[in-house]
């Protein structure tokens, strides 16, 4: 198709402008992680004076990064596992059954996603403190359990929504065939429907993991020194008076790589899932 010169110029401006805007911080993160300490303390340098992997080693001893890492991993993996399982059940119900309250359920679930987190933080804080007081021991306040329960509900709404629309795309004949072969509800779901929905389930799992891995607001009040997650650990690390920026950048890179790679590999499914609700 013929493209006027104005459009070609527009394309160059957009691609170069947005390309630079996007890539410069990523470049800074990667190159600064390879700099010796002196390079990040004086005037900014575009390239390390002598590239080194030291920051990737030192970062583990400057702050208890390993502890934050384990906390984040335990909380995110557990929250993801539960969230995906619960979302599978709910999505199967929404996709395969026409029951009273189906629309209110999906509507209400999505609506909670839109409310500001601060609205839930204060009451949850109070509820958790008082649950522990009633129990007589620390169970949910500033523990991994409390964080897991909270996080798994954060990814639930979108997970249900994404999975339900994925399941809608799987022919019902498959369910019926399984029923004929003697499977009941859960048998049909786990033996026949889920294997066919594997890409959707993986996409939802990645989404749930990303949600927990990056959460900040609740982690800032619902964790203590022992249960602190990466988001708060790194945030504290970067707002100290004397910051080892090369180590902070190395740590940021290390905690980002797994999720970014997973996201980009599963781009196709995630994008389809995230946008399906509104584009339809």
């Amino acid at each position: 198709m013929h493209e006027p010169r104005s459009f070609r110029l527009f394309r160059v401006v957009v691609v170069v402008g947005l390309g630079l805007f996007t890539i410069v911080p990523l470049y800074v993160m990667v190159t600064s992680a390879l700099k010796p300490l002196g390079d990040v303390q004086g005037d900014f340098r575009w390239w390390p004076s002598h590239p080194t992997f030291r920051p990737f080693i030192d970062m583990w001893s400057t702050v208890p990064l390993a502890r934050y890492f384990v906390n984040s991993l335990v909380v995110s993996v557990t929250a993801t596992a539960f969230s995906v399982l619960i979302a599978i059940f709910a999505a199967y119900a929404v996709s395969r059954y026409r029951f009273m309250g189906r629309r209110p359920f999906t509507g209400a679930v999505l609506a909670t996603q839109m409310f500001p987190g601060i609205l839930f933080l204060l009451p949850l804080f109070l509820i958790f403190v008082n649950i522990d007081k009633q129990l007589g021991f620390t169970f949910v306040y500033q523990t991994r359990v409390g964080l897991i329960v909270t996080y798994l509900t954060f990814s639930l709404p979108f997970s249900i929504w994404m999975l339900a629309s994925y399941l809608d795309g799987i022919p019902r004949e498959l369910d019926e065939a399984a029923r004929v072969d003697g499977c009941r509800t859960l048998g049909t779901l786990f033996r026949v429907v889920l294997p066919a929905a594997r890409p959707g389930v993986i996409a939802v799992a990645v989404y749930a993991f990303m949600t927990s891995w990056g959460e900040i607001l609740f982690a800032s009040q619902m964790t203590n020194d022992a249960t602190k997650t990466l988001s708060i650990g790194l945030q504290n690390y970067s707002t100290q008076i004397n910051v080892y920026w090369n180590q902070v950048m190395a740590a940021s890179l290390v905690v980002s790589l797994p999720v970014v790679i997973a996201f980009l590999f599963l781009q196709k499914y995630l994008v389809a899932g995230l946008t399906s609700g509104s584009v339809k």
Partner: protein, 322 residues
């Protein structure tokens, strides 16, 4: 595990349990399937919301946090303090609200514009399209704090990239300014938020564009519409439903943004970057006055509901007329 436990019952059904019981059981199945999700939503979202509203009517200061049943009633006291714009607390809340509005306007507007431009440019295939698309999605895929911390390094006065470019490379300024304190903090925060949120707009608009059939463009081309006219009259028109949802989502996320100011500045941001969520957070956790914080949260919720309701009403009416 569930598979093995259900097997015997299904055989029992086949063996001659009356069909009526089976049908009633079938009616309960969807409810059992959504039960865990409903319970969790109740526990973490609905109950706290009700508790939050109740909290806003009591004097929940630090003495009563661990024994909330003893907290004295405050009536509308917390609300009166929050909206008394002649007192320091009310004035600070109003200021924070204004900052949030301005921030939302700028970030949502530019995020949409960037996303739309990028999607329009990448719509017609050219070499490197897939690579660019992937690159543009990286800020969205990155954990929020990793991206914001990198920007906070770039905004450092003495060793950051921004001042290095402005002062040493381009010679636009003689004195390196502070970017993370004073009025500049607002600009920095908006730039970071824009960097993070425009890829989402891009993602949604791209998906929306794919659902516009090629024939529409071909018909327009036959009628002599150039690429700009097609963009203006076809793409924008057909994208309307996507844009309505997209702008609403961007509005809610940006207006309630807590992460960007918190990671950039810590729990107490500069005045110019005092967004509403972090303002309420500060008022609750720094002074340990949960009653006042809850009253502010409820006011925020009311504002969001009114704006969202009005927005949906206006957009629905307009699309019905069209």
């Amino acid at each position: 595990m569930p598979v093995t436990t259900t097997k015997p019952t299904s055989e029992a059904v086949a063996a001659g349990v009356p069909p009526r019981r089976r049908r009633r059981w079938k009616g309960a199945t969807p409810y059992l399937l959504i039960l865990p999700a409903v319970l969790l939503e109740l526990l973490i979202h609905i109950v706290p919301m009700i508790v939050g509203i109740w909290m806003s009517f009591i004097q929940l200061t630090q003495f009563f946090i661990a024994n909330w049943s003893q907290a004295p009633s405050a009536g509308l006291g917390n609300y009166k303090i929050a909206v008394d714009f002649s007192s320091p607390i009310g004035r600070a809340l109003l200021h924070s609200f204004t900052v949030s509005c301005l921030y939302t306007l700028i970030v949502v507007g530019l995020a949409w514009l960037f996303g739309m431009s990028a999607a329009a440019v990448l719509q017609h295939g050219f070499r490197g399209r897939g690579g660019l698309r992937t690159l543009f999605l990286v800020p969205y895929a990155l954990p929020i704090y990793a991206g914001v911390i990198t920007w906070s390094f770039m905004f450092q006065r003495d060793n950051g990239l921004v001042n290095h470019v402005l002062v040493s490379n381009l010679h636009l300024l003689n004195d390196p300014p502070f970017w993370l304190i004073g009025n500049n903090a607002f600009v920095s925060m908006a730039v970071v938020a824009l960097w993070r949120s425009w890829p989402f707009a891009f993602l949604m608009i791209m998906a929306g564009m794919q659902s516009i059939p090629d024939e529409v463009y071909q018909a327009a081309a036959v009628d002599g519409a150039g690429i700009w006219q097609q963009l203006r009259y076809i793409t924008l028109g057909m994208l309307r439903p996507v844009n309505v949802v997209l702008v609403l989502m961007l509005f809610l996320w940006t207006f309630n943004d807590f992460n960007t100011p918190f990671v950039l500045f810590g729990p107490t941001p500069p005045q110019s970057a005092d967004l509403i969520s972090i303002h309420i957070y500060d008022n609750s956790f720094v002074n340990w006055n949960f009653g006042l914080g809850s009253a502010m949260s409820v006011l925020l919720l009311l504002f969001l509901l009114v704006v969202t309701g009005a927005y949906l009403l206006v957009t629905n009416r307009r699309s019905r007329r069209a």
